[in-house]
């Protein structure tokens, strides 16, 4: 997906709750690229315009899984605390 598509997707998936400022999206994308978790390729869009398309690398996928797992654990812990429940 290219940067524009990603920002649209983020907005739609989170149900408009998360609005990624257009400005901070690209620095973040470039940082991920520099870390080697995503890789980019210049391709033609449906309208025949050139854009930079990003995709996850294998490394990125591993990192994503790890981070996702961490997030689940963290969010579960927080919600338990908030509801004063036992885990």
């Amino acid at each position: 997906m290219n940067g524009w598509a990603i920002s649209l997707r983020l907005k739609s998936i989170s149900g408009d709750v998360l609005q990624v400022s257009e400005g901070s999206l690209y620095p973040a994308l470039h940082k991920l690229e520099q870390e080697g978790w995503i890789t980019a390729e210049w391709k033609q869009t449906e309208n025949n315009r050139r854009a930079k398309f990003y995709s996850l690398t294998r490394l990125g996928r591993q990192h994503l899984e790890k981070e996702a797992a961490n997030w689940s654990r963290l969010s579960a812990a927080i919600s338990h605390v908030v509801r004063l429940e036992e885990a």
Binding site: S7, Y26, W42, R49
Partner: protein, 901 residues
């Protein structure tokens, strides 16, 4: 993460560096695409194209800022930033070529002087021994009350070797000495430098001969048996053109045949600082060389001629070895009370040896390096000042950069890159100057070392010195550039954008600049004072005169050991030489002396006990410097005999022993009494009795600036020395006497060479005058450079002040200020700074003078004349430097000034 991580990131980073333009283009394209999509979305929602565009731009924020943020995400942005900054710096520096050139030259001068001086200090102090693992080599010394760095005798050396456990090997060597060398038996011997060493010398040091071998242990066992020699690498190249067939060949050293068994490697020019031995002989052969003729080198425990070094065993500390050595010394003291009383032993590392308090090299090194660093400081302060004013004039540019979002640190980095480039250029030029200084040092080689020995000046721009110079350059960059960078990026943005030059009133503004000027003035003053003091000190020494007549003297040196004379033949030779040469045409009088007056050769010392003197409990004897002379000496050299008589022919070998002392000696040991008729005993209370028959005037013996010292003369007939110098006083030109002397020598022995034959005048000029002159020139040039830099700095400051206050000056003059008022206004601050600087400089000057007095010669108390001359001169000169731009300021037409922006 691991290496697979790098598969993605490395090509990316490389790309960012090497394909900058492409990467930048893509970045623009990507953001542009996003922008266009956003605009389309806006249009789709019903906005007009213009409104859509505004909305899109607002959403994204500043395009350039985003791009910069993205660029920051690239990990190597430090490197690309540096390249950017460097390119920009070069461009902006070339826009002001005058300033750039001035800064580079200033830095070059400072760095050049320092690196040149450092080459000297490096050679004298830091350069490690040219052997593997040089830090493991320590020096052992014998210590007495008078001398903390005395030599050992052969027997003591053997004891150290056998009775200590701390070392992997103990070596010893004698001084490098003049040896008559001939490659063919029939050739006339030439003087070369040879060194007696122990058999394990090369092995313990870790030096592998490039050809042949070193000495074997058994070759050093029996005195006189194994005549083998190892050649030095330079000597082999010079003398034998690196011919390997020289191995096994026989050569003659002082008339004795020696076999060449090896060549030392290129990497080992020797362990001396100032010379490279031409060849090495085993200690066992000592009898054929310049060892003390009065003593038995191998038996007498008080014949101390050997320097001892050793390699510490790994795991042994210096303390442990030191303790062991102290114990050994104590044992020797009790075993041999007569010769080892109150004698200890100590261990020193190479660094300790090189930096000992009494070492003249160390003292000079410290003084010169301090002065050179002072020059560098002045240069740096100058440059810092210049950079400050330059930064000040870029205030608008810096304000703009800050306004559009550049971080302060980023800007500081940019400014520092600029000073780094300046320092780099300055450093390169400085290194070139350093080479020049070293070449200048080398040009004095022949002046300082007027001997036949292979002595040379070891100062060189080797790796260590180069690295130090580059480090110095980088440090100067930081020093010069940091303050301006910090100060200018603190700029008040609003005012900065308003005018190109911030004209902010307030005290703190020029504080840094003021400190710089004060520092410059005071350092220059100190440098000038130092040079002045040195010059005066030497002049004093020279003006006091030497005490003897230097004119119309021819000198020539003989060493009959070169033609294998024994002791009796040598004595006979000198007796006949003196007799015959006295009759030669043009010769007014003749003299024979062991030491050339004010020469470079070390004087012998004599150990004695004044007869009937109550010796302090811990002293075995006293010592004094001495010379061996014949009957004609005092007359020929015009040294007055104050009491008693000179030596006579009747003071022969069979007659009772006599000696002549100088006034200083007489006053020292027999104050108020007549020394004539008194006696001394040699070496100890029960040594040979010697009668004092005369008291000579105290003169200068070793150097033009020395303090008066005790001195003893002994007659040649009673104290035979092999190598003597003939001094002839002529009625006319001394060089006319050369031929007559040659004729006389030929009648005695046509094979005996005459060594450094010259007029004493010339010798003295080179030794006593030109030598110190070099030191003086070096210091004076440093003083001059420092002064020039200070003047330039002060001029720059005042001129800058004027240029920045031109509008203010215009207003004042329009309101009625007179020229003189303006003058006072502009110069006033400058004068205050000079005043403060002068006071500081005086204080530092006092400090330097004290340092010089204690370390060097008797420059004698506080030299008022120096200050009376230097301070007003400096004041005047700096006033002038301030006056010129100030005057220009007062001449400015008000209308012009007001128009100035």
């Amino acid at each position: 993460m691991g290496p697979q991580h790098w598969l993605y990131t490395v090509p990316l980073r490389l790309r960012s560096v090497f394909r900058r333009r492409r990467v930048e283009q893509e970045l623009s394209e990507e953001l542009q695409f996003h922008l266009e999509q956003k605009i389309e979305e806006g249009i789709a929602m019903g906005l007009s194209p213009k409104e859509a565009r505004f909305a899109a731009m607002r959403a994204i924020g500043g395009l350039e800022q985003r791009k910069e943020e993205i660029r920051d995400m690239r990990r190597i942005h430090w490197l690309t930033d540096f390249f950017d900054d460097a390119r920009f710096a070069i461009r902006s520096l070339s826009r002001t070529p005058g300033l750039t050139a001035f800064v580079v030259i200033t830095l070059a001068l400072g760095i050049g002087m320092t690196s040149g001086t450092f080459s000297m200090v490096d050679a004298l102090i830091f350069r490690p021994y040219p052997v593997p693992h040089p830090s493991g080599v320590v020096t052992l010394v014998s210590t007495t009350h008078d001398n903390s760095f005395d030599n050992f005798s052969y027997r003591e050396y053997l004891d150290i070797r056998s009775k200590t456990k701390s070392y992997d090997g103990v070596i010893s060597n004698a001084d490098m000495e003049a040896v008559g060398f001939s490659a063919e038996p029939s050739a006339t011997p030439r003087i070369k430098g040879g060194m007696l060493v122990s058999a394990n010398y090369f092995h313990v040091l870790g030096v592998e001969p490039q050809l042949g071998r070193g000495f074997r242990e058994d070759e050093d066992q029996v005195p006189g048996r194994d005549a083998v020699v190892v050649l030095g690498p330079d000597f082999w190249k010079q003398e034998f053109a690196s011919d390997s067939s020289v191995l096994g060949r026989t050569v003659r050293l002082n008339g004795t045949e020696f076999t060449v068994i090896g060549i030392a490697p290129e990497t080992f020019p020797g362990m001396l600082i100032f010379g490279h031995p031409d060849f090495y002989m085993p200690l066992a052969m000592a009898r054929g060389f310049s060892t003390d003729r009065q003593k038995n080198f191998f038996e007498d425990r008080d014949d101390r001629e050997l320097y001892v070094k050793a390699r510490l065993k790994p795991g042994t500390t210096v303390e442990q070895a030191q303790n062991e050595l102290a114990v050994l010394a104590k044992n020797l003291e009790s075993e041999y009370p007569k010769v080892n009383r109150n004698r200890g032993a100590a261990l020193h590392t190479q660094f300790e040896m090189r930096t000992r308090a009494d070492d003249i090299n160390w003292k000079f090194g410290v003084i010169f390096i301090t002065l050179a660093l002072a020059v560098l400081l002045v240069a740096c302060t100058n440059v810092a000042g210049l950079l400050l004013s330059r930064a000040r004039s870029r205030t608008r540019e810096i304000a703009v950069r800050l306004a559009i979002g550049a971080g302060r640190f980023r800007l500081i980095r940019m400014l520092l890159t600029e000073s780094l480039i300046l320092a780099f250029l300055g450093g390169l030029a400085g290194i070139a100057i350093g080479y020049g200084v070293v070449a200048w040092f080398h040009s004095f080689q022949n002046v300082i070392f007027m001997t036949d020995l292979p002595l040379s000046i070891p100062f060189q721009m080797d790796t260590r010195v180069l690295l130090a110079s580059l480090a110095l350059a980088a440090l100067s960059a930081l020093l010069c550039g940091l303050a301006p960078a910090l100060q200018s990026t603190r700029a008040d943005l609003v005012n900065g954008l308003k005018s190109a030059d911030v004209d902010v009133p307030g005290r703190k503004r020029l504080w840094g600049r003021n400190v710089l000027v004060v520092a410059q003035v005071s350092t220059s003053l100190m440098l000038l004072t130092a040079s002045f003091l040195m010059v005066r000190g030497f002049q004093h020494g020279l003006r006091d005169g030497t005490g003897f007549a230097k004119d119309h003297l021819l000198m020539t040196t003989f060493d009959p050991r070169l033609v294998q004379y024994d002791a009796a033949q040598t004595q006979r030779f000198y007796k006949l030489l003196a007799e015959r040469v006295r009759e030669a045409p043009g010769v007014q009088s003749e003299a024979l002396t062991q030491n050339i007056p004010l020469g470079t050769d070390d004087f012998d010392g004599v150990a004695f006990v004044p007869d009937g003197f109550q010796m302090p409990r811990d002293r075995e004897n006293f010592s004094s410097t001495m010379d061996t002379v014949d009957e004609g000496y005092f007359e020929t050299m015009a040294i007055p005999i104050l009491r008693g008589r000179s030596f006579l022919a009747s003071d022969s070998a069979e007659a009772p022993r006599v000696a002549i002392v100088n006034q200083q000696f007489a006053n020292h040991y027999w104050p108020g009494a007549d020394a004539v008729g008194k006696h001394i005993r040699l070496d100890s209370r029960v040594g040979t009795l010697v009668e004092i028959v005369g008291v000579a005037q105290t003169i200068k013996y070793q150097g033009g600036t020395e303090k008066p010292m005790d001195f003893v003369y002994m007659p040649l007939t009673q104290h035979p020395i092999a190598r003597m110098t003939l001094m002839l006083r002529s009625s006319g030109d001394p060089l006319q006497l050369i031929q007559p002397v040659k004729d006389v020598v030929r009648t005695l022995d046509p094979n005996l060479p005459m060594l450094h034959t010259m007029a004493y005048d010339d010798y003295y000029l080179n030794q006593a005058v030109k030598g110190p002159e070099i030191a003086m020139k070096l210091v004076a040039s440093m003083g001059a450079v420092g002064l020039v830099l200070a003047i330039a700095g002060l001029y720059g400051l005042v001129a800058y002040n004027v240029s920045r206050r031109t509008r203010e000056i215009g207003i004042r003059m329009a309101l009625g200020a007179a020229n003189s008022d303006v003058l006072r206004l502009v110069m006033g601050k400058g004068l205050v700074l000079v005043g403060i600087g002068t006071v500081l400089g005086l204080l530092m000057g006092f400090g330097v003078e004290h340092l010089m007095n204690s370390m060097l010669f008797n420059a004698g108390g506080v030299d008022i004349l120096a200050y009376v001359i230097v301070v007003p001169s400096l004041f005047l000169v700096t006033m002038l430097a301030a006056y010129v731009p100030a005057r220009r300021a007062s001449r400015i037409a008000p209308t012009q000034a007001l128009r100035y922006e």
